[in-house]
């Protein structure tokens, strides 16, 4: 760490805040593959967001990203002198859909790396994938399946989101561990139990924050929960392209 300030002032009040994987943890080939997976995911996400994202959800898009960034700064203590922080992928996807949610997570994690030197640039693809894409695409799929099994989104939104949120943290940690192992950084057999054990507890925090945020919105502005699926295509008319409608800027 490179403090340019007086060390004394920092030790008192300021915690570790967020901390993502730094460069050096992953080998170059692994980091490159993760960059490719992330860029492909982002391209797909942008394409589908362009087809389905309703402009009325724009304020919610901004506020969700701002909240996830702020909440990620807040490292909460778990057992054994370890801390954890929110990821937010399931929260973003439940509110905005998986495509816009993926863009939100990518922007948050990229800004953390570029502006705050939180997480390396070589491993940024891996960090976006592990902390964002897994939660927004995988976590959202789990959320929808669970919600359907438990009697529909209307009824089961909070428990389904909570379980999916917990799972997204554990799955992200597992992915990170596999990437570390393939990189030759640490053996899988040793690292996997350690990573899963720690993140099984951190995931509880993820679930609690996700449920609290969704519960707050449902209690105060339930109409916002309809924005995710609000887009209704215009009927094609003369002058429209065959695709029907153009992106609204």
């Amino acid at each position: 760490m490179n403090f340019t300030l007086q060390p004394g002032t920092l030790e008192t009040g300021i915690g570790r805040l967020d901390l993502h994987a730094p460069d050096g943890f992953l080998s170059f080939p692994v980091a490159a593959v993760m960059w490719i997976l992330t860029l492909v995911s982002l391209a797909i996400a942008l394409r589908f967001m362009n087809r389905t994202f309703d402009e009325r959800a724009l304020p919610l898009l901004g506020i969700t990203a701002a909240f996830i960034f702020a909440a990620q700064m807040f490292n909460f203590p778990i057992a054994g002198g370890t801390s954890g922080h929110l990821l937010g992928g399931v929260l973003a996807a439940v509110l905005l859909g998986p495509w816009a949610g993926t863009i939100v997570m990518a922007v948050v994690v990229a800004v953390q790396a570029l502006l705050f030197q939180d997480g390396g640039l070589v491993v940024l693809g891996a960090n976006i994938f592990n902390m964002g894409v897994i939660g927004t695409l995988g976590g959202y799929a789990v959320y929808r399946i669970l919600a359907r099994m438990m009697g529909g989104e209307q009824r089961a939104m909070l428990p389904a989101a909570g379980i999916a949120a917990w799972l997204s943290v554990v799955a992200g940690a597992a992915a990170m561990t596999v990437e570390l192992a393939i990189s030759g950084t640490t053996p899988l057999a040793v690292a996997l139990p350690a990573m899963l054990g720690t993140h099984a507890i951190i995931g509880i925090g993820e679930a609690l924050i996700t449920v609290a945020a969704l519960g707050f919105i449902r209690a105060t502005r339930p109409d916002l929960l309809k924005l995710r699926d609000a887009y209704a295509p215009r009927p094609p008319s003369l002058g429209d392209s065959a695709e029907g409608g153009t992106a609204h800027a």
Binding site: L19, E55, T198
Partner: protein, 100 residues
């Protein structure tokens, strides 16, 4: 969108307070990955970014908690601005009268 603006401002206040709370109370313990990296002895593999803008969520030249609050608020504004811009570029206007 009844009371849309006041709700938005209220949530932005919550976001700001989250930044302040994180600046004061965030746990200084290593996080999950860092703890495992220390325990298993691969923390030394970590490399510095090689550049600094707002390193470790501090605003250079400002002391203490205020430095982290300022850096965090800058981050909030930047993140909000970027996703809003992307959203504006790719979002669509629904058919008039579509359910909201």
């Amino acid at each position: 969108m009844r009371n849309g603006r006041s709700w938005l401002i209220g949530v932005l206040v919550i976001v700001g307070l989250t930044v302040v709370a994180a600046s004061i109370w965030a746990s200084s313990d290593p996080d999950g990955l860092e703890r495992v990296a220390e325990d298993l002895g691969f923390i030394d593999a970590s490399q510095d970014a090689g550049f600094q803008i707002l390193p470790d969520y501090t605003l250079p030249g400002v002391d203490g908690v205020a430095s982290t609050v300022a850096a965090g608020l800058i981050g909030v504004v930047v993140v909000f601005g970027i996703v809003y811009l992307i959203g504006r570029l790719v979002s669509r206007r629904s058919e008039r009268g579509a359910p909201s």
